[in-house]
Amino acid sequence: MMSLENFRKETKDWLQANCPESMRQPIRSEADICWGGRNWTFASEDQKLWLERMAERGWTVPTWPTEYGGGGLSKDEAFVLKEEMKAINARSPLDSFGIWMLGPALLKYGTHEQKLKFLPPIARGEIRWCQGYSEPGAGSDLVSLRTKGVLDGDHYTVNGQKVWTSYADQSDWIFALVRTEADAPKYNGISFLLIDMDQPGVTTKPIKLISGKSPFCETFFDDAKALVDNRVGNAGQGWEIAKYLLSHERAGIVSEAAFGGLNPVTAAHQSGEVEADGTMSDPILRGDVARLTIDGLAFEATMRRVKEEADHGEGVGARASLLKYMGTELNKRRNELNMSALGSDGLLWEGEKESDGDPARSWLRSRANSIEGGTSEINLNIVAKRVLNLPGA
């Protein structure tokens, strides 16, 4: 095995040689992200090239085994890759729910055949996945799921409705929680099914959000078919798999929430609300921002600490709920302070430029952070019960 220093050097050289210049620019909006999928249209030749080159090395999913399309890197190597990409501002070649969520679930719970069938297309950006958990009236409370799958030979016939299925209208397959064991109590009757959306029984309808255009949809199953072979884990094991994934989702939301985008100091510079020496003009707002900076540094350090501890074998477990809670509350505060620092400029919704209104949309979008992937309230409950071991009410 290569030493980490050698790996760093080779990686740096390879990135230098292979990452197109236009892929070394900060992500400015949704449109700059590469999601892949059957119907994907690349935003540019460079975006396509970058995905292909990275996918070829398995570096879209650096730690997955090579036989499933991954890079086979160790955690340390993957971290080096991340650092070196960050050093040249290289964009992620591919973002997807397949990578973040289904992949980890399959790697842990899937059969070898399932892994071989589903993982490589994810790694290459060929199949785009969405997640079907929540239902109307069953958000944080998944126990009351009503979407039903009835066993019928080699497949389940699925009927019901999901909400908050991100990008369902652009996705190829959905991984969904479906109640297959009608007689089993509560959590035990739910299975984790993979469903091809390219069939007449599956339809989607976008949800309009307060932040405008939305990735979220309602997804309807009307006698949709899912092969039994495409059930991950045992019948009734769905809730366990979902819980495992929720902690992955929480970590994902957190890192996105905490580090991405505008900050209030930059915002104050944009709106001209700084003095000649760079001091923010409003001293009281400055104080609020300073406290945000402190918590931002603290959160950054905490994420790093948790990662190090995980590498040393201390499980993250229910602490993921705490991180998710703290990170998303922090991101909401940051967005609020961005708006304050921007003043009336921040209120802009539509203008000449496409980016006009981005700060407001990001601010509104941030309100969902503490709802999606488990509300703050649910996460606080989990922390109280599973980290602090406090009793149920």
Binding site: G139, I210, G343, S344, L347, L348, W349, G357, E377, L380
Partner: protein
């Protein structure tokens, strides 16, 4: 000064609540937004404000108004906040009327106040030049030029700017004093850029490029123009705070109604102590904001010299509480709170925009400290 509404005030509030609930519910704002209304408000609704007698709330009876004072204006604005009614009431009937009352010549008053009372004009007050409210930062210049003036400068995010037939522009005169100037936005040299904001209003930016004004464009009826300007700001803050208060109240009411209905784990989520404590705390914050707003408005009416501190305090508190109430409202609604289908997001947007106008909580807290001498 009384915190308890008198009979006239009670009637006014009841009729405002009934009328706006009927004529300008939240769906009216949605319609203005979806049809991309060029002005961001409905001319019909504005006419009916006059019919209801509200447009002249600060106009003397001599000039065709009802002269009920700021406390009454605040009641209308509070109800507007509750239904998110979009109307040039604050800009025209409060700010412009106050400007004329305090600084207008007799001729200007006789000309403009009746038009305000009758609802036949929309006036916008062009104040801010920076992104964040800062009333000391006025660089727009009105240079003496013969009998008239030449106006140069820029104004940002002038509320009701897109729909105004007349502007009152804050500018510095040759002696560096603050002056208020009447400017027809169709005059040569005036450029208007409309801004569609997050709350579906349409303020506008204005450039004044050597705009020639007659001598009678100058509101020269005040002994102390700077004092008049400060008073105008006080009045604007207290009245804008009243609208924010209404936003907060309805956001809260919507939320309590939602959590009382929505069930989780088989019980209404309003039965969870975690939400109950936050809702109770929020009610306390609302009570504080309510008291300050009322106190600021009645003090403007009865002891204006005591009003400034109450007005900035009320503006700060109403801004903070309305934003908090709407933010907590979204959180307590959960996923549906993020959808455009529910109203709570619209309250969150309006709380932000209304909070920004004439200074947010941070700005006004700074004013509180300054006025208190620390």
């Amino acid at each position: 000064m009384s915190f308890v509404l008198n009979e006239d005030e009670q009637m006014l509030r009841d009729s405002a609540r009934a009328f706006l609930g009927e004529s300008s519910p939240v769906t009216a704002l949605r319609a203005l937004r979806d049809e991309k209304s060029p002005t961001g408000f409905s001319a019909d609704l504005w006419s009916s404000f006059a019919e209801m007698g509200w447009s002249g709330v600060l106009v003397s009876e001599d000039h065709g108004g009802v002269d009920m004072g700021y406390a009454a204006a605040g009641l209308v604005l509070e109800e507007m906040g509750r239904t998110l009614a979009s109307s040039p009431f604050l800009s025209t009937s409060v700010l412009a009327a106050t400007a004329f009352n305090l600084a207008g010549t007799d001729a200007q008053k006789s000309n403009w106040l009746p038009k305000i009372a009758s609802g036949e004009t929309v006036i916008a007050v062009a104040l801010d030049e920076r992104a964040r409210h800062n009333p000391d930062h006025i660089q727009t210049r009105a240079k003496k030029d013969g009998n008239g003036f030449v106006l140069s400068g820029k104004k940002r995010f002038v509320n009701e700017g897109a729909g105004a037939d007349m502007l009152i522009v804050v500018a510095r005169t040759d002696d560096d004093q603050i002056g208020l100037f009447l400017v027809d936005p169709k005059t040569n040299g005036v450029t208007r850029t409309d801004r569609r904001t997050v709350d579906s209003h349409v303020p506008a930016d204005f450039n004044f490029d050597d705009v020639k004004l007659d001598g009678d464009a100058f509101l020269s009826g005040a002994d102390d123009l700077d004092a008049a300007y400060r008073r105008l700001l006080d009045a604007g803050r207290a009245c804008q705070a009243a609208e924010s208060l209404g936003v907060a109240e309805q956001a809260f009411d919507d939320t309590i109604a939602y959590i009382s209905e929505r069930e989780q784990f088989g019980v209404p989520i309003s039965s969870f102590q975690g939400l109950q404590h936050r809702a109770a705390h929020l009610l306390g914050e609302l009570e504080l904001a309510r008291s300050l707003v009322r106190r600021a408005l009645t003090t403007l009416d009865t002891q204006p010299s005591q009003a400034p501190l109450w007005c900035v305090a009320a503006k700060a508190k109403a801004t903070q509480v309305s934003r908090l109430a709407a933010a907590e409202g979204i959180q307590m609604h959960g996923g549906v709170g993020m959808t455009d289908e529910y109203d709570i997001g619209l309250y969150y947007k309006r709380a932000q925009a209304a909070g920004e106008f004439m200074g947010d909580d941070a700005f006004n807290a700074g004013e509180v400290a300054r006025m208190s001498g620390y």
